[in-house]
Symmetry: D2
Subunit: 356 residues, 4 copies
């Protein structure tokens, strides 16, 4: 850390900084300039907190040299983390994994139909919300455990592992019973109690960047989970809040290469929430693959006009299948791949559904 | 609500919108222009959801006419809500209430000393954190219940009611045992489970605006609490995230008059988190009083250089006392008042402290 | 336009709105709800200004139905505009055009060397700044006309047309003498005098989005140029200012598909300024091609460590050549193309340079 | 400046940084840590540019210690600059100066009537736009020189000095003929040619912060003017662009104390553009005085419903007079003053107007 003193800082103030730094175990190098003194702290910094120095009299500014996240950083682990989801799915390897499904589970039929469409188009994970964080207390809040049960049934039929959101500490055990991937939503990125709770279970977690989360904060939140013992964390870019209103959020695709460079954890792109507008999803999905995303999570609905939530940003099943074709070509152009569509199988599954 | 159709919207698409609106109970007025059709929905809108129309084919844009929050809005209740905190303190009336104290409770001595300083300067409520949300999992996380006990002891000595943060649903019963005001922190503004939990207790709540919370979202979150049955909600402006880095946050003082005009709930200003820099706190505290805030919450510390958190934005006890004098003058200039300092009493209390 | 009246708006206030709208030539449809009146204006809206209604007593809110830009909008001209730059280069067609070169022209040798590298790698336009807008009055401000002369010489040697910035109305005639494309920089997006000046010359213009420009404002600024008579306008996304500091700017790639959908004008991506960090340029360049950009403009330098400006975001000539290979693959994956490298020719050119 | 090298930086990279810094005249102090090297540069930094080091191989990050603006900084000149506007008006002294008037000069009558209202209420400077930067090329662009003539006539009648915007380099000589204060608008904050032009005239300048201008950029822009020889510069906060839409802009009042602390130049608050909504202007004007502004600039109109621009944010003459009374009380509460209303005189002036 670098501590820059104010021009008129007194000897006492400078000494206080040096003393405090030494107490904390740092090697201290003061540099006395004509106008200012700068104190450089190096060596073992584990016990050094920046805000302590920020608060001291005579200090103008401080600057961190090392990033505060350790376990999540690329320097802690140079190789990519590859997360095994089960059902033959790995995220972080050469295959670009596409997760898709409706915003909310609305009925048994609806989620199974979507699952079949996902599978048919080459998707590898089924998404669906059972507990929904809603801006208004008067809106649909999700089906709860029944929704989880339908998801599990869809998994049984299609073989697709499932990702679903867990919103509270209390719900963790329940959701762990059903989900292959636990999703932490954007509003909960800094819900530290929840991060600690999912840090204690051995289940892959997809952590979404908050709507105003800085990239380094996202990594600090991942650190909460990883430092709790659960190293299977994926980072998800899902759009940030800016002044621009042409898109619902500003899908910050720059975060993809930044995260890939600073962390070893797999990175997921969510173009549906990222843009909020279904007509932008195809272009931005292709761009996400080109930028280096390890996975995508895309909202689809059999009838977006009548979706109970997020219809505005949901693709139809047909548009999703078309998008998969074009993403597959982009994946190849960056020396990765997306699994082929298996539509034949879809017919079988639909029959199965009719029986079930 | 107004639904604007795209220029080339088909008759079927227009009919679908009209039909859906009628199903939802609205009176529907389509206006057929040369290029476009506009559908106005009026009447009973309780079951009409904007996002449903956003998602429909042929829809260009929708516009809400009525605000989605009902109970929190000024039109639902023209008179100011005045919240009785107990101990003779009312927020929302002619007195501008100053709440102050350290960021974290660090020890018995520290919190009692601060409490005495608050009281001596004319402050009316003691703040202090026992459970701290921290960006890094490696930072000090608060004293927990022991901190609550020290706060309660400080209250007993000084007679000041206390405000402290509750971070999780599970902690609500514990914090309710001690706190006179429950604080919902900025990171939890949209933690709906927590909002619902504090909506069920009869204890005043101070709800902080999230770091990227829109004013209308803050009001929707208040609606979660009020609609749960707890009408004693205060709204707190504490700085938003913008591109500017000269201040830690951008303290959005405009929110004060906006909230006073759109809602009947009392409005609190937090210039300490708002700016993040102690040297800006006095000017912005005075500005907050001038802009119409019903209360302020200010961080102070007996020794900011050695505070365990937020030292950078904490005033010394002396600077706080000086600030109180100048805020008192501003309060009078806007036809309100701030209680006088009672320093004599402080000496008595300090003696009491020595005894205790 | 839709004018929503306040709940308690008086008959006089409503009449005033109706009357004003009729004076302006609109067909007026008032809708009287239980609580509110909504006034819809349709028909000929050319003389109707939104802010007039915003300002009227009793008005709650207004909402524009049609976009205020006319000539720049996709509905005004459904087919893509293709701009002929000369020298066999067309922007807006199936070929994705890569423009590249140094931030500033620093010397004759430097710009010619860069031009040769651009050409060799398959780039089609040479960029280089002769007049530089600099944040500090103490920084290098560009070579001025001498820089333009060196650019022209580089064009003569390589056959690449050139793009360079024009910063003031007075400089327009001078820059027009040399440049094949006039660049309007981000700081000048709303310099209306300058927009009007370049609207009067018959030379392609690349208009950069301001650092806090909304997409609709960018289109309004294009409208200034097009309505002046110069229809050869390209729109350039170059990064916006947000709270995130991991990147210098937030390269808003979403703007690419949004602009392609709302306007017929060609869209250019500038990943160099967009991100501000050279290590992000390759991934974001590929993403830009995947998202549908018609052209890219990329900063390169023969020795970024010693560049006089923007070294931090400049690629070396070698890294640029490598990037071109990978962008070419992405272009093909979206059914477009980027011209092949012609390195043989480069050797000839370098000999030519030695002679010159 | 501090240059932090990457963990694996080579000796050659470190040497290159040291050598470059020495060439530029800095005293160089390298600190070799276990993992990293940090290079501190002190002494004469006039020739040291941060971006040069940002661009070098092996550099992780740089940090400026001294601010890049020199002449505008408080450390360059500890005492407040007081600017003499003529007509007995000084900005930066104990009196808080209120400037007011319509957005645009619309007619002779209108501007004189407003001038009389300003004077009657205790305002000291008349504002009015003759050249208007407008978002749409189809909107009213101002009366031009005729507007300046009417302003001059209003000054003659009332004795109020005038402030008006100059938008282009070419218009500087013309506007200087008429204006007592030259206003540089927010869109032109970084129009460096214009800043240089007004830096060469001896006339007070009010420089508005750009809609996304950082405070340090505003100071750098002031540096452009001051370094050109014109030291009579006022800095104006007028609202920034954020994600919040409840206000048209986010009036960043924090900028007032930040600017007062970092610069000796007078600071002006513009609550009209700052908020964009007339109902917020009174509260935010009072807050601006409380926060330490040296002057305010407020838009008023005799008939806001029929203003040709900015009616939404304009106060009526009556509301302005009422606001002046309450601001006067705030000024006194911060030990400053606002001149008394002189309504008697107003009657005289109105008679004068009738005659003229």
């Amino acid at each position: 850390m670098i501590v820059v003193m104010k021009p008129g800082a007194t000897k006492t103030e400078i000494s206080a900084v040096i003393q405090k730094a030494e107490q904390m175990g740092a090697n201290v190098h003061p540099i006395y300039g004509e106008n200012r003194t700068v104190v450089a702290l190096v060596g073992d910094m584990t016990r050094v907190t920046r805000e302590v120095f920020d608060a001291m009299e005579g200090v103008h500014q401080t600057m961190r040299i090392q990033e505060p996240y350790k376990l999540a950083s690329r320097s802690a682990r140079p190789d990519n983390t590859i997360i095994d989801i089960g059902h033959g799915v790995q995220i972080g390897g050469p295959e670009v994994i596409v997760m898709a499904g409706p915003c909310s589970v609305e009925s048994r039929d609806q989620i199974i139909e979507s699952a079949i469409a996902v599978k048919a188009a080459g998707g590898k994970v089924l998404r669906g919300g059972a507990f929904k964080p809603r801006t208004s207390p008067y809106d649909f809040q999700g089906m709860g455990e029944q929704g989880l049960k339908y998801l599990a049934e869809a998994r049984e039929i299609t073989g697709l592992p499932i990702i679903t959101e867990v919103m509270t500490v209390e719900a963790v055990p329940l959701v762990v019973e059903y989900a292959d991937i636990l999703q932490i939503g954007a509003r909960n990125m800094q819900n530290y109690g929840l991060l600690q709770a999912v840090g204690k279970v051995q289940r892959p977690v997809m952590l979404k960047r908050g709507i105003s989360g800085m990239i380094k904060e996202l990594l600090m939140c991942a650190e909460y989970i990883v430092s709790g013992g659960n190293t299977q964390v994926m980072l998800c870019e899902r759009g940030i809040r800016t002044y621009e209103t042409a898109t619902r959020n500003t899908f910050d695709l720059n975060a993809i290469p930044v995260l890939k460079q600073t962390s070893h954890l797999p990175v997921v792109a969510d173009p549906s929430h990222g843009t909020g507008l279904r007509e932008l999803v195809p272009a931005m999905s292709r761009a996400a693959v080109a930028s280096g995303a390890d996975a995508l999570i895309i909202e689809i609905h059999r009838d977006p006009d009548n979706a109970m939530s997020d219809g505005r940003q949901s693709l139809t099943h047909e548009d999703f299948a078309t998008l998969m074709v074009s993403m597959r070509r982009i994946a190849e152009a960056v020396d990765r791949y997306i699994s082929a569509a298996n539509e034949d199988n879809a017919e079988e599954l639909i029959e199965l559904l009719a029986v079930a």
